[in-house]
Symmetry: C2
Subunit: 291 residues, 2 copies
């Protein structure tokens, strides 16, 4: 049990969500309280739980240069470890006097699961609309980054309009991050990113570069593209070349940058502090990971 | 999504845990409040989530005369539905003004997961001690029945010692129920119980009839028994006959009755009400299901 939890924690990595919560708290309240550290721990535990379950669903073998829990142990251990992390996170949130952490994190986590379920429903449906794609990533990824920033602001006593700004900041940052991640899955190399790549394609997940590529292609090219998508093993090089030629790779990169820019703008009303500077840098970071 | 949740709800059945919460509330407070109905819903959702994940872990195909979610859809759908139910349950608990529901249910659910993980660790270890077996079922099954009764009493304003009585009542009832369930898995027939049977044996889970049988057997018989346990397909009839001969079946049944009796005694200090009568009847019910 201990061994599993200890190992599961190594699979995290960037700790983006707790960083967002604590930096927002510092930027708006000038300090970080014990309750905020608890909430930051909770969002990271929830995130780790979803990663562990994701790796089961995707049958992924590597994450952060380490074997996944399902690869090292088995699916059974992964399902139970994820459940343990979920429920322990909620228990931890409930040790605080205010119920607001439980409530907001509960709702956000629910959105994450709903987003994952909807994504599952789009499997193999490469004609999914961009609107649906954005709804899905807003739920599965950005709900948790949004709530992290919202809670950081709320528990610092920030006024309602600043809390909303920070919630939007977190959501847009999360969307930028996810688009960049999708691109990474198509383009990246396993040695650099430390995780199994091309799993989106293998799992027949329609992602933005693909949706955009199909929208840009002439009927004949579209048919060729769909054929490659239906049997993606080995075709990755040809697929990427095709998407590149159609401008879909560049447009996807621009789309990520656009969300990062919107996020950065949300920080304008914040006083100049080192914490705000780091939040600004994070907008850069999420779209410029090795890819 | 709706379809999955709707279907998942059919897999429940007895609604034992919400019944315990509401009956305890009625027995101790004379009525049932809206908050108690919410908490009863929460414990049933948590229970359903664990069932859905259990069916993935056990690769079970039937439950309550219906195909399981993993059989009708797939493991992916089951993992996500379980996660959705877990997180929605905690969200629902957090809509109440008091954080106590979240806290107690969070801790209990955590114990459930820990119990499941520990049980997984005993796979194939038929020499596990009875003490360990009881610790595991106290966590994986009885934590949720205990917290149901505890919350029913607590939210009715019962005094501390009565709250403890009811918590113990729920735990002992849960243990009695689980022992009876283990026996059902060895003895029962799929047509009667509506779920896949013999899965405990197939999954190499050491349960009380087996642990007790091995303890009672002479060295030679013990070896034969272990051989049957290691390859349980088809050997069920011979295995049951052997356990019967060793007295393990009767002793297991007595053990369940003993816990049911202890549970019944916890109700002595309650005033005579129809709700208390039903709780008393439940002590009978959990050990006398068709088997």
């Amino acid at each position: 049990m201990d061994e599993l939890v200890r190992y599961g924690c190594l699979l995290g990595g960037k700790r983006l969500r707790p960083a967002l919560l604590l930096l927002t708290a510092q930027a708006l309240g000038g300090r970080v309280t014990a309750d905020q550290i608890t909430l930051a721990t909770v969002v990271e535990m929830i995130h780790t739980a979803t990663l562990v379950h994701d790796d089961v669903l995707d049958d992924a073998r590597m994450r952060r240069h380490l074997a996944t829990v399902n690869a090292r142990w088995d699916n059974e251990a992964s399902v139970l470890l994820g459940d343990f992390l979920f429920t322990h996170a909620f228990y931890l949130a409930s040790t605080l006097d205010s119920v607001i952490g439980c409530r907001l994190i509960g709702r956000a986590t629910n959105l994450v699961c709903e987003g994952e379920l909807r994504q599952k429903g789009t499997k193999g449906r490469f004609d999914v609309s961009e609107a649906e794609y954005f709804e899905i990533i807003a739920a599965k990824t950005a709900a948790l980054t949004a709530v992290s920033c919202e809670l950081g602001a709320l528990t610092s006593g920030a006024d309602e309009s600043l809390v909303r700004d920070m919630e939007h900041f977190g959501r847009e940052l999360g969307i930028a991050f996810q688009i960049a991640d999708d691109l990474l899955d198509v383009l990246g190399e396993e040695q650099v990113t430390g995780k199994s790549l091309g799993t989106d394609l293998e799992k027949q997940k329609p992602t933005l570069p693909v949706i955009r590529g199909l929208a840009r292609a002439e009927p004949a090219e579209r048919q060729r593209l769909l054929k490659m998508l239906q049997a993606p093993q080995g075709a990755n090089g040809a697929l990427v070349a095709c998407l590149q030629r159609l401008g879909a790779i560049d447009e996807t990169r621009q789309q990520a940058s656009e969300y990062a820019r919107r996020a950065r703008q949300r920080l304008q009303r914040l006083e100049a502090t080192p914490a705000r500077d780091v939040l600004t840098m994070l907008c850069e970071f999420v779209v410029s990971r090795p890819m």
